[in-house]
C-alpha cells in the first residue's frame, strides 16, 4: 500500500477509500504531503473527497464513458507513452478479420448468441498462424497503422467518447473532464506516474469487471503499469479478501488461481493445457507443475503419476455455484444444510427478503460468529416475522450457533491489496466456547473422517485419503504455521527431503515436492515465517522488503521489468525501480525483479522452448501468453474484448451510444420477488425515477456483525439514513433528519434523512438525475445495539456475468416522506408501486427491465480459444445449468 506515496497523481474512482480503508489512506495523505494530486470521482462527496484536490461527481455506472473519454483524449492528442505502448502492450498485434466492434454492430461485439445471451470469443482472436499464436507470436504491425491492429481498433472504438459524450452521459462538465484528462496526461510518462484506486464502486455493477478493464487500458497506454506509484490498487472489501481469492473461498478456482475442473473434464493433461500450454510464453507454461504440487499437498502418498496425481478426487463443477445460485436452490428446497462463517446474508446480500426466505427453507444451519447476527435470529425477529409473513412455528430450520474466535484470539495471516501477507499471532485465548475457524474445520474434518473410517464406498476415498494431520496446541487449536508451511511447500524426496521450498521455481512435476499454493511458495523459505517480519520503516529502505512478505517471491510491484525501458535502463532517475546491470549480467534494483534474472534485454527469446525461455528480453508481462500487456483482451472476458458502455437495466436514461441498452450477458434470476424496473425501456420506469447507490461508512463494518453489536461503534452512527441533495429534499418535501421511505421494485425501507450539499443533482441531457445514498450496514434483529432497515432489501439479484457479483451500486427507486407501513402494509405499498410500473408477472411476462434485449438462456463460457491466457477461469463453467429459471439476459 505504501506505493501510493510514490504516485504523482492518485485517481480514486469507485472507492470511498478514506472511509472504507482509513488505515491505507495514510499513504494517500503521505503522497499529498509530498505534493501529489488526488482526484476523487464518485456520485457522492465523501470523507475521501474532503481529502482530495478535487471531487468530480459522476452519474453512477458511467465510468466506462468517462475513462473511455480519457482514452480517446490521450490517443487523439498523442499523449500516450509511445515507447512503452510499442514495447510492452499488444497495441501492434493484429486481430482476426472476423472481429466486429460494437461501433459497427450497434452495441454488440461479434460472436453474440441471442439465444443464450453469451459470446463465442473466437472472432476476438489474434490474427496469424495458429502455431505461431500458440507460441505468443501473432501477426504484428510495429507502425501501428494497420486498421486491424489493436491500436487502431482502440481508436475507432473510443472515437465517439468525446467530452460532449462524457457530459451527456456522466453529467461531468467539460472543465472537470479536462482537469482529469490533463492531470493524467501530465502525471504520466518517463518522469511521473499516476495510480488508480478502485473498490466495490466498480465491481458491484453489471459490467463492473469492464470498468476495471478501462482503467487497465488507460494505465497501459500511459505507461503506468509495473512502475513505482503506478498500477491499479484493487481496494478489497475487508481484511484478507485478497488472501481469500489467492487461496480461495470461491467455488470456481483452486489455490493459486488454478481453475476448478468442470464436469466431464477428466483428462488431467487436457485440464492443465487449458490453463497453460508447454509451448506458450511465460510462467503459466508450468501450470501442470503447480497443479501436481497442490494435489500432492492434499492427497500426499495417494497422489502419484499413475493416478494423475489424484485429479479424479477433485469435485467437478456442474454449473455456477455462487451465493445467489445457492440461494435460488434453497428457495426451491434443494439445499439441506448451510454453514455461515463470518457472513450475514440476511443483511449483507442482495434482496434481503429472498435471502431470509431461503434460509427459512433449510433443514439446518450453522452460524459461526461473534454475536447472534441477524442471519442467526431472522426466524424469530426478522422483518418477515414482523410483517406476519413468517412465524417461528412455520420455520423448520434447526439453528446451531457456534461462537467464533476473533482475529486477536487466533493466529493466521492477512493478505492485502498489494499481495502482502502479514502474520498475526494469537494475543489472547478466545473466551468461553469460542474457537478459531481453523480449529473448527480441522475438528469437523477429523470427526467426519472418524465416522467414515470403515467405509468401503469409493466416493469416500477422496476424504479418507486427504492429508489431515496438523499439530495442535494444548487447547486443541491447530498450529497455523504448519498450514503456512504446507502452503509454502517442501521437498519430500531426495537430498533436501523435508526442507521448505525456497520458491515455486523449486517445484517439480515428478512428485518429489509438494506445495499448497504455488504463488505463496517462499513465504516459509528456510523454515522462517517471512509474513511475520516486522522491521520498522526507519530501519530499512522505502521498498520495505522486510515488512511482511508479498507474493510472488516477495515482489512488491508486479511486472516491474516495465519500470525500465526496452534496453533495460530506468525510464528516469526519479522513477527508477528495476533495471539491467550489464556488469553483473542480471536484473537488479530496489525490488525483486519480475523477470528471468539473467535474461538480457536484447534476448530474442526461444520460441521452440516455451515458458520462461520463450520470453523475449522485452516481454515484461511474463504471465501473459504473448508477454504483452493487453489493451485488447482476446480471451478471458465473457462480455467483450474491450469495455463498452451500457446502461444499468433499471436506468431511466437511454444508452446514448447504442441501441443495445444494457449489458447483453448480464445474469438475473426470474422470480416474482426479484423484479426490476423497466427503466428507460418501458413507461413504468418513471415510477422509480431516482437512482440509489449503497456504500459503507467508517463507523460500521459490512453487515454490522462486527460493529452494530459494539456500543462504542454503534453510538457513532446509530441509525440507518439516506443522503439526498437539498434539491431533491425540496422536490419531495423531505425534512432534514426526519424520516423517508425508499421504495424499489423489490421492497420498501425507511431511513432518517441527511439533506446535504454533498449530494449533487446531475444534468444528463434533458434530464436532472437525482442520486440517493444508502449505507447498507443496518438490519432488523433484536440482538444488536442498534438496528434499522437494510438497504440490501431494496436490491435485486442481478449479476455481472464475469464475476457473478450483484449490482448494488446502480438501481432505481422512489422516495416519499415519512416512515414505512408496519405489518402487511409494507408489502402492499411495494405492490402498489409495482402495479403502477406494470411489474405484475402474470400480466407482464417481460419484467426484468429489458424489453427488447436479446437473448435468454443458460450461461456458458465461450469456447476455448487457442490464445487462452492464464487468467482465472470464468466464474460460469460449461455444462448444463443446474438452476431452474436462471436467465442470462
Amino acid at each position: 500500500m505504501q506505493d501510493f506515496a510514490n504516485a504523482d497523481l492518485i485517481v480514486i474512482e469507485g472507492s470511498n477509500m478514506a472511509e472504507a480503508h482509513p488505515v491505507a489512506f495514510q499513504w494517500v495523505i503521505e503522497a499529498r504531503k509530498r505534493g501529489a494530486r488526488v482526484i476523487h470521482v464518485d456520485p457522492r462527496f465523501t470523507r475521501t473527497s474532503a481529502n482530495a484536490d478535487r471531487h468530480i461527481p459522476i452519474r453512477t455506472g458511467t465510468d466506462i464513458v468517462l475513462l473511455g473519454g480519457v482514452i480517446r483524449h490521450v490517443l487523439e492528442n498523442e499523449l500516450y507513452f509511445k515507447e512503452y505502448v510499442q514495447a510492452y502492450t499488444n497495441a501492434s498485434t493484429l486481430i482476426s478479420e472476423e472481429y466486429g466492434d460494437p461501433e459497427d454492430l450497434d452495441g454488440l461485439f461479434s460472436g453474440y448468441d441471442p439465444e443464450t445471451g453469451t459470446y463465442d470469443d473466437s472472432t476476438w482472436a489474434y490474427a496469424g498462424d495458429p502455431e505461431q499464436i500458440a507460441r505468443g507470436l501473432p501477426e504484428r504491425d510495429e507502425t501501428l497503422q494497420h486498421p486491424r491492429t489493436v491500436f487502431q481498433i482502440l481508436r475507432r472504438h473510443y472515437a465517439r467518447y468525446t467530452p460532449q459524450m462524457v457530459q451527456d452521459t456522466c453529467g461531468i462538465s467539460p472543465e472537470d473532464f479536462e482537469y482529469l484528462a490533463t492531470s493524467i496526461a501530465e502525471n504520466s510518462g518517463r518522469e511521473r506516474t499516476t495510480m488508480f484506486a478502485y473498490a466495490l464502486g466498480w465491481t458491484q455493477h453489471q459490467g463492473g469487471a469492464q470498468m476495471i478493464r478501462t482503467s487497465g487500458i488507460l494505465q497501459l497506454l500511459m505507461g503506468n503499469v509495473g512502475r513505482p506509484g503506478g498500477g491499479i490498487m484493487a481496494l478489497r472489501g475487508h481484511a484478507t479478501i485478497q488472501g481469500s481469492t489467492d487461496i480461495p473461498t470461491l467455488y470456481h478456482i483452486l489455490p493459486g488461481y488454478l481453475p476448478m475442473p468442470k464436469a466431464g473434464q477428466d483428462d488431467f493433461a487436457e485440464y492443465t493445457r487449458g490453463i497453460g500450454k508447454k509451448e506458450q510464453k511465460g510462467f503459466w507454461a508450468n501450470a501442470d507443475v503447480y497443479a501436481i504440487n497442490l494435489l500432492k499437498a492434499w492427497w500426499g502418498e495417494h497422489a502419484s503419476a499413475e493416478n494423475d496425481w489424484g485429479f479424479h478426487n477433485l469435485p467437478r463443477l456442474t454449473g455456477a455455484h455462487g451465493t445467489y445460485q445457492t440461494l435460488m436452490r434453497m428457495l426451491e428446497g434443494d439445499v439441506d444444510g448451510y454453514f455461515l462463517f463470518g457472513q450475514n446474508p440476511a443483511v449483507g446480500s442482495a434482496n434481503g427478503r429472498m435471502q431470509r426466505l431461503g434460509l427459512s427453507n433449510l433443514k439446518w444451519m450453522v452460524v459461526r460468529d461473534f454475536y447472534m447476527i441477524e442471519s442467526a435470529t431472522f426466524w424469530k425477529d426478522g422483518p418477515e416475522v414482523e410483517s406476519g409473513e413468517l412465524s417461528p412455528e412455520q420455520i423448520g430450520t434447526e439453528m446451531f450457533f457456534l461462537p467464533a474466535a476473533n482475529h486477536t484470539e487466533k493466529a493466521g495471516s492477512f493478505t492485502q491489496t498489494q499481495r502482502m501477507v502479514q502474520w498475526r499471532d494469537k494475543a489472547v485465548e478466545p473466551p468461553g466456547d469460542a474457537r478459531s475457524d481453523l480449529e473448527f474445520m480441522y475438528d469437523l474434518g477429523r470427526r467426519v473422517l472418524a465416522k467414515l473410517a470403515d467405509s468401503t464406498d469409493p466416493r469416500d476415498r477422496p476424504l479418507l485419503d486427504l492429508t489431515w494431520d496438523y499439530p495442535v496446541d494444548e487447547h486443541g487449536d491447530p498450529d497455523a504455521e504448519a498450514v503456512l508451511a504446507e502452503i509454502n511447500g517442501r521437498h519430500i524426496a531426495g537430498e533436501k527431503a523435508g526442507q521448505p521450498l525456497a520458491s515455486f521455481g523449486e517445484m517439480k512435476d515428478d512428485g518429489t515436492t509438494i506445495g499448497g499454493c504455488w504463488i505463496y511458495s517462499g513465504v516459509y523459505a528456510d523454515g522462517v515465517n517471512r509474513a511475520r517480519k516486522r522491521t520498522p520503516g526507519q530501519e530499512q529502505d522505502e521498498t520495505a522488503a522486510d515488512w511482511g512478505w508479498a507474493w510472488p517471491a516477495n515482489r512488491r510491484i508486479l511486472y516491474n521489468r516495465a519500470s525500465a525501458d526496452p534496453e533495460g535502463r530506468p525510464w528516469s532517475e526519479r522513477k527508477k525501480w528495476v533495471w539491467w546491470d550489464e556488469e553483473s549480467g542480471t536484473w537488479t534494483g530496489k525490488d525483486v525483479p519480475d523477470f528471468p534474472a539473467t535474461k538480457r534485454p536484447d534476448d530474442p527469446g526461444d520460441p521452440s522452448k516455451g515458458g520462461a525461455a520463450a520470453l523475449a528480453g522485452t516481454d515484461a508481462f511474463i504471465m501473459q501468453a504473448d508477454g504483452r500487456g493487453w489493451l485488447f483482451a482476446p480471451t478471458g472476458m465473457v462480455d467483450g474484448p474491450m469495455p463498452t458502455h451500457y446502461e444499468s437495466p433499471e436506468s431511466n436514461i437511454r444508452n446514448p451510444l447504442y441501441a443495445q441498452q444494457s449489458n447483453p450477458t448480464r445474469v438475473t434470476f426470474r422470480d416474482e420477488d426479484n423484479l426490476s424496473s423497466p427503466g428507460a425501456m418501458g413507461a413504468g420506469g418513471e415510477v422509480y425515477p431516482y437512482v440509489f447507490t449503497t456504500y459503507r461508512i467508517t463507523e460500521h463494518h459490512t453487515a454490522g456483525g462486527m460493529s452494530r453489536f459494539l456500543p462504542y461503534l454503534s453510538e457513532l452512527q446509530p441509525e440507518m439514513y439516506c443522503e439526498v441533495s437539498p434539491e431533491l429534499a425540496e422536490e419531495i418535501g423531505l425534512e432534514p433528519y426526519g424520516w423517508a421511505t425508499i421504495i424499489s421494485a423489490r421492497n420498501a425501507i425507511e431511513a432518517k434523512v441527511l439533506v446535504t450539499e454533498r449530494m449533487t443533482p446531475l444534468r444528463v441531457g434533458e434530464r436532472t438525475v437525482h442520486q440517493i445514498g444508502l449505507p447498507f450496514h443496518w438490519g432488523r434483529g433484536s440482538e444488536a445495539v442498534v438496528q434499522g432497515d437494510g438497504a440490501n432489501d431494496l436490491i435485486g439479484m442481478n449479476l455481472d456475468a464475469n464475476t457473478q457479483i450483484q449490482n448494488s451500486k446502480n438501481n432505481s427507486c422512489t422516495i416519499i416522506p415519512g416512515r414505512r407501513p408496519r405489518g402487511a402494509g409494507r408489502a402492499e405499498l411495494v405492490e402498489a408501486y409495482r402495479r403502477r410500473a406494470g411489474l405484475i408477472p402474470e400480466l407482464h411476462p417481460q419484467v426484468d427491465g429489458a424489453d427488447g434485449a436479446p437473448g435468454a438462456g443458460p450461461v456458458t463460457e465461450g469456447t476455448p480459444h487457442p490464445m487462452r491466457g492464464p487468467e482465472e477461469a470464468s466464474a460460469v463453467p460449461t455444462g448444463e445449468p443446474s438452476m431452474k429459471e436462471m436467465r442470462n439476459r
Binding site: 478514506a18 482509513p22 499529498r32 475521501t48 474532503a50 481529502n51 467508517t698 456500543p711 441509525e719 450539499e757
Partner: protein, 333 residues
C-alpha cells in the same frame, strides 16, 4: 505568588522540576479523515461509557456532539460552501499580515515572534478553490498552561502531572463540580452514569460515577512510556503526540507549508503563550476560525484575574474600613 505559570512551564512551576519535557498533542485538522478512531480508542482504553440515546444527532456525520464526562475526544464535521471557504482563506491571510504569533515561515524566528514582512501580497496560487468542503477536526482537553479547573479545585483532586498535563484523581474528587464552570473550553464534566455497555454485566458500581471527568493525556500510559491511545490509533497522523516545543515547531512548519500552497485559511490554535490561558498543551491547526469548530476564539482562564480581583477587593475593603473609621472619627466631634 502569581497563579499564572511562568517561563519554566507548568510542570516545573508545579514543583516537578525539569525531568520531563512538557507533553502534548498536535492535531492537524487538514489531514483528518473523520474516521473517529480516536474517539473509540479513547473510550476503549479509558472504559468510558457511551453517550446519548443512540439516535442521529442532526449534525452531519457527528453523532457525539461535544466533549464531556464520557467523551474525551470528539470529531466535529462542518459542511461549507464556496463563500465561507473564501472568507476563511481571507481571514487566515489577514492573520499573517497582522503578524499574529505562531503563523508564518520557519525563518520568522522563535515561537510567538512576528513573521518577517507582510506576506499578504506575495503571489501564491491557491489550490483549486472547491465549491464545497467538509471540515473534520478532533477536539480534546487543552491541558492549559493556566488551567482553570486545577486552580479552582477545592479538594486537590486535580493536579498538574510531571508531563505538564492536567489530571483528575477520581478517588479524591468529591464531585462538587466547581471545576466545570472554571473551564473556558467546556471540557470537564461530572459523570452521572457509570455504564460502559448496555449489555455489560457489572459486578460493582463504577467508582467514577459522580466525579469530574476528562482527558488525562493517558497519564496511565505515559508513566509506562506509551503514547496516548488516540494518537497511537490515528491512521493519518492527524493527531501526533510528543514534546510540546517540537509539536509547536511542527505546527508552525505545517502552516507555512500550507500557506506556501496558497491555503491561507490554515492557522494555529493554542500556540500563543500570551493568550488567556497561557497557551495550551494541545495545539491545533485549523482551516477556519475557531468558532466554526466550536472552539472559543479568545479563551480566558477565570482565575487569571484573581490576583487583581483580590487586590481590588482588598483595596475596597480597606476603603470601607477607612470610611467606617472616618465616619466614627467624624461622629466623635
Amino acid at each position: 505568588m502569581s497563579l499564572l505559570a511562568g517561563e519554566e512551564g507548568p510542570a516545573a512551576q508545579s514543583g516537578w522540576g525539569h525531568d520531563h519535557e512538557r507533553k502534548g498533542f498536535f492535531t492537524d485538522t487538514s489531514i483528518c479523515i473523520g474516521c473517529k478512531a480516536c474517539e473509540v480508542a479513547c473510550k476503549e482504553w479509558n472504559r468510558n461509557p457511551i453517550d446519548g440515546n443512540l439516535e442521529i444527532l442532526g449534525s452531519s456525520y457527528d453523532n457525539t456532539g461535544a466533549l464531556g464526562a464520557n467523551t474525551w475526544r470528539h470529531v466535529a464535521f462542518v459542511e461549507q460552501g464556496r463563500e465561507r471557504i473564501e472568507e476563511a482563506r481571507e481571514s487566515g491571510r489577514k492573520l499573517v499580515s497582522l503578524g499574529m504569533p505562531g503563523i508564518g515561515p520557519k525563518s520568522s524566528g522563535a515561537r510567538g515572534a512576528t513573521p518577517a514582512g507582510d506576506l499578504s501580497q506575495v503571489d501564491r496560487t491557491p489550490p483549486d478553490t472547491p465549491e464545497f468542503r467538509w471540515l473534520m477536526s478532533s477536539d480534546v482537553c487543552k491541558h492549559c498552561t493556566n488551567a482553570g479547573c486545577l486552580d479552582v479545585c477545592p479538594t486537590g483532586a486535580i493536579f498538574r502531572s510531571e508531563f505538564g498535563s492536567v489530571v483528575v484523581q477520581q478517588d479524591v474528587c468529591n464531585g462538587c463540580g466547581t471545576c466545570v464552570s472554571a473551564c473556558p473550553f467546556g471540557v470537564i464534566e461530572r459523570r452521572d452514569d457509570g455504564t460502559v455497555s448496555p449489555f455489560a454485566v457489572r459486578e460493582e458500581e463504577d467508582p467514577r460515577r459522580g466525579t469530574a471527568s476528562k482527558c488525562t493525556l493517558c497519564y496511565d500510559r505515559l508513566v509506562d512510556g506509551e503514547e496516548p491511545a488516540c494518537s497511537a490509533t490515528c491512521p493519518t497522523q492527524s493527531i501526533t503526540f510528543g514534546d510540546h516545543p517540537d509539536l509547536a515547531e511542527d505546527a508552525k512548519q505545517r502552516v507555512a507549508d500550507l500557506h506556501a500552497r496558497g491555503m491561507t485559511e490554515a492557522r494555529l490554535y493554542g500556540t500563543n503563550p500570551k493568550d488567556g490561558v497561557g497557551g495550551t498543551g494541545s495545539v491545533f491547526l485549523l482551516l477556519d476560525e475557531p468558532e466554526v469548530y466550536g472552539l472559543p476564539p479568545d479563551p480566558q482562564v477565570p482565575t487569571k484575574s484573581l490576583p487583581k480581583t483580590y487586590a481590588r477587593t482588598g483595596l475596597a475593603a480597606a476603603g470601607m474600613v477607612a470610611a467606617v473609621a472616618l465616619s466614627f472619627l467624624g461622629a466623635r466631634r
